[in-house]
C-alpha cells in the first residue's frame, strides 16, 4: 500500500485501541482474576510479536508483480469527502492534467477533461458544495455495455479503461455514460506521455492512474489533494476490509451518483 494509505491505516489502528473498545471486550468476557488476565494478555502479546513478521511476509507475498494480471480480489475505489473539498481549489484537476499530458487547445468545448470540479448550490437551502467528478468506475459500466468493439472494458480490479487500439471513435460510450466522464480527442496531439497513450479520433477518460496503481502508488489527484492539505480524496481497495477506504465506507454514510441506475460505482461521495 501507499505511504498515504499506511498513514490512514495507522490512524485507524490507533482509534481501534480506544478505552471504549476494551470496556466492550471486558463486558463480553467471563469473570477472571487480574493475574490470569495479565498472563493471558502477555501470552497473546508474545504470540503476536512472533507472528507479526510472518503476517507481513504473507502480505508482501500477496502483492501483485508487474507482469501479473489484475485480480478480482481487489477493487480499487475512491471516497470523495465533499465537506473537505473547497470551491476554487483545482489541485486534483491540475495534477491529472500534468500526469496525463492533457493540454489546453483554447477550445474548451472540445478539450479533454478526465476530472473536473463541479460547484453545486442547493436550490432549497442555498448550501454551497464543491466536488471533483470523474469516471465513476462502475461495476456495471454502461460504456462497456454499449461499446461495439469491446474497446471499453473493465479490468478485473474494477478499473474501467479504453483500449486505444480497438476504439473506432463511434462515441456511443459518451452517449451512454451517465456522468459525462468521457472525452473525445478532436485534434492531433503532440508530446504524449508514455504511460498515457492518447491520440486523435478515440475516446478516453480517467484511468484511476492505473500506471501508478500498478506501481502501488495512489492516483495523482489523490496525492495532489493531500499535498494541498485537503485530504478530501481517499483511495484504496474496497474489497480489503482493513483498507482505510473500505473502513471509512463501512463507517460513514456515502452516496453514489445516479444511484437509481444501480451501477455500483467505485467512487463514492460523503457529505453530499
Amino acid at each position: 500500500m501507499t505511504a498515504l494509505a499506511a498513514t490512514q491505516r495507522a490512524r485507524l489502528n490507533a482509534s481501534a485501541s480506544r478505552p471504549e473498545s476494551i470496556v466492550m471486550d471486558m463486558k463480553n468476557s467471563s469473570p477472571a482474576s487480574p493475574r490470569r488476565t495479565f498472563f493471558t494478555q502477555a501470552s497473546a502479546g508474545v504470540a503476536l510479536l512472533a507472528l507479526a513478521p510472518g503476517v507481513r511476509l504473507v502480505d508482501l507475498a500477496l502483492a501483485r508483480a508487474q507482469d501479473e494480471p489484475a485480480s478480482a480480489a481487489q477493487r480499487w475505489g475512491l471516497l470523495v469527502d465533499v465537506d473537505r473539498c473547497v470551491s476554487g481549489c483545482d489541485a486534483c484537476v491540475s495534477a491529472c492534467n500534468t500526469e496525463h499530458g492533457l493540454g489546453d487547445s483554447e477550445r474548451p468545448q472540445t478539450d479533454a477533461q478526465w476530472i473536473r470540479k463541479v460547484d453545486l448550490v442547493d436550490n432549497n437551502t442555498g448550501r454551497q458544495l464543491s466536488l471533483p467528478l470523474m469516471c465513476q468506475h462502475c461495476e456495471e459500466p454502461p460504456c462497456v455495455d454499449v461499446c461495439p468493439t469491446g474497446a471499453s472494458f473493465r479490468r478485473a480490479d474494477g478499473i474501467v479503461l479504453v483500449d486505444k487500439h480497438t476504439c473506432i471513435g463511434c462515441r456511443y460510450c459518451m452517449m451512454a455514460c451517465p456522468y459525462k466522464a468521457r472525452s473525445f480527442i478532436h485534434e492531433d496531439l503532440t508530446g504524449q506521455k508514455t504511460h498515457a497513450p492518447r491520440g486523435k479520433g478515440v475516446v478516453e477518460s480517467c484511468t484511476l492512474c492505473v500506471h501508478r496503481v500498478d506501481r502501488d502508488e495512489s492516483p495523482a489527484c489523490v496525492e495532489a489533494c493531500t499535498d494541498a492539505g485537503r485530504e478530501a480524496l481517499v483511495f484504496g481497495d474496497i474489497n480489503d476490509r482493513n483498507d482505510p477506504l473500505a473502513t471509512q465506507l463501512a463507517e460513514t454514510t456515502t452516496r453514489e451518483l445516479r444511484a437509481d441506475l444501480k451501477l455500483n460505482t467505485a467512487v463514492r461521495y460523503r457529505g453530499l
Binding site: Y172, Y179, K180, S183
Partner: protein
C-alpha cells in the same frame, strides 16, 4: 407473377446525366467534408464533448430508417399480395439498399477512426446494440439482395413471397435495433424510452414511402414517363396514414415524459423555451412536416401530382428536423447528476450546450443522400428495375 419483360434498364438521357452529375457533385462534396474532418479532427465540426453526435448522425439515422421503410412497396406487393404495387417492387428494394449504403457511409466516415472499420468488423461486443446493428445492416443488404434475385429471375419468382416475408421481418427488427440505439441510453432522459423502437418503425414507414415517391417520380421523369396515377394515389394515402402514425407516437413519447415530474424540465426545453429546438419542433417537424403534408395527403381536393410532390418533400424536411430535434436536442439538454442543485463546472455541466453544424459535417451528411441517389442511378442503368409502363396491366 411479374415478368422481367415489363421492366427495363434506363437508357442514357440528358436527365439521367444531369441528375447523376448533381448527385455526384454532392457525394464528392461529402467525401471532401469527411476528409477534412478526419485529417483536421472533429474540432472542425460543431460537435464537442457535450454534443458528441452531430448532423452526420442526423442524416445517417434518417437514411438508415428510410432504407427499411423504402422496402414498403415491395413488401406490400410480396407479403400482402397486392399486385398493384408490383411495378415499384424492384425499385423499392434497390432504394432500400441505396439508402442504407448512403447512411452507413456517413456513419463510417463520421467515426473518429474510420480507418479502423476492419476492427469494427472483427471485434464484437454482443451486449452492444450498436454491434447488433452492424449485423442487422449487413443482413438487410444480403436479404434484400436475395429478394431482388427472386424478383429478377423468372425461375425463382415462386420464392419471392417467402423471401419478401423474411426481408419484411428483418426490416422490422432492423428498425427496432436502430430505435434501441437511443432507447437503451438509460442515462439520458431524452432517449431512455421504450417508445423509441415502435416510433422508429413508424418513422421508417413514413420516411421510406416519401423517398420512394420522390425518387420514384424522379426516375420516371428521367425515363420520360410518369408514375401510374392510381398507384401514386395509393402511396399518397398510405403516406398520409404513416405521417399520422408518426405524429401519434411522437405525442405518446412526449405525453409519457410529461407525466413523469423528473422529465418536466426536458419537456419544457423541447416544447416551450428551447429556442431553435422548440422552433424546429413546432414550426418544422409538427406544422410543416406533419400537419401540412397530412392535409395535402389525406384530403381528396389535393390529389394532384404537384401537391403529392410538395407533401412528400415536406415529409422529408420534417423527418430530418425530427431526427435533428431528437438527437441534437436530446444531447444539448444537460444530464441531471445532482437533482435539487444548481450546477456549474468547466465542463458545461448544468447548461444547455452549444451546437452549430459546420459546412464540413453538413457536406458529409448531404453526401450520404447524394450517394444513395447515385447508387440508385447506377442500379437502374445496369439492370431492369424500372417498369416499362406504369399501368396495372403490367402484372400477370
Amino acid at each position: 407473377m411479374m415478368k422481367s419483360a415489363y421492366f427495363q434498364s434506363v437508357s442514357s438521357s440528358r436527365g439521367y446525366w444531369l441528375i447523376s452529375a448533381i448527385a455526384g457533385v454532392i457525394t464528392l462534396a461529402g467525401l471532401i467534408g469527411a476528409e477534412h474532418m478526419e485529417s483536421a479532427g472533429h474540432w472542425v465540426t460543431g460537435m464537442s464533448n457535450q454534443v458528441v453526435w452531430g448532423v452526420p448522425h442526423v442524416f445517417a439515422i434518417f437514411l438508415i430508417v428510410a432504407a427499411s421503410g423504402a422496402l414498403n412497396t415491395a413488401s406490400i406487393a410480396s407479403v400482402f399480395a397486392r399486385d398493384d404495387y408490383k411495378p415499384l417492387a424492384r425499385l423499392s428494394a434497390l432504394l432500400a439498399i441505396a439508402l442504407l449504403s448512403g447512411g452507413l457511409a456517413v456513419l463510417v466516415l463520421d467515426l473518429g477512426r474510420p480507418d479502423r472499420l476492419i476492427v469494427a468488423m472483427t471485434h464484437y461486443n454482443f451486449k452492444s446494440i450498436f454491434a447488433w446493428n452492424i449485423f442487422l445492416y449487413i443482413g438487410f443488404m444480403f436479404i434484400v439482395g436475395i429478394y431482388l434475385w427472386m424478383m429478377f429471375e423468372p425461375r425463382m419468382n415462386r420464392f419471392t413471397a417467402r423471401v419478401g416475408t423474411a426481408a419484411f421481418i428483418w426490416r422490422l427488427v432492423l428498425t427496432t435495433g436502430t430505435g434501441s440505439i437511443f432507447g437503451f441510453l438509460v442515462a439520458r432522459e431524452a432517449f431512455d424510452s421504450a417508445v423509441m423502437a415502435p416510433l422508429f418503425i413508424v418513422m421508417s414507414l413514413s420516411f421510406g414511402t416519401a423517398l420512394t415517391l420522390l425518387i420514384g417520380m424522379l426516375i420516371f421523369w428521367i425515363n420520360g414517363a410518369t408514375m401510374d396515377p392510381a398507384l401514386a394515389q395509393k402511396l399518397r394515402r398510405l403516406l398520409g396514414f404513416f405521417v399520422i402514425g408518426v405524429a401519434y407516437l411522437v405525442a405518446v413519447d412526449h405525453l409519457t415524459k410529461l407525466y413523469v415530474t423528473g422529465h418536466h424540465q426536458l419537456e419544457q426545453f423541447i416544447l416551450v423555451d428551447g429556442g431553435i429546438y422548440t422552433l424546429l419542433f413546432w414550426g418544422v417537424q409538427i406544422l410543416l412536416g406533419t400537419m401540412v403534408p397530412a392535409i395535402l395527403l389525406l384530403l381528396p381536393r389535393f390529389c394532384q401530382r404537384g401537391y403529392l410532390i410538395a407533401a412528400a418533400l415536406l415529409v422529408v424536411v420534417g423527418a430530418l428536423t425530427q431526427v435533428y430535434v431528437l438527437i441534437i436536442g436530446g444531447q444539448v439538454f444537460p444530464l441531471e447528476l445532482f437533482p435539487g442543485y444548481s450546477v456549474t463546472s468547466t465542463f458545461y455541466d448544468g447548461v444547455i450546450a452549444d451546437y452549430t453544424p459546420s459546412l464540413a459535417e453538413l457536406a458529409l451528411g448531404m453526401g450520404g443522400m447524394g450517394l444513395a441517389v447515385l447508387v440508385t442511378l447506377i442500379g437502374i442503368r445496369i439492370l431492369p428495375f424500372v417498369p416499362v409502363q406504369m399501368t396495372g396491366e403490367n402484372q400477370d
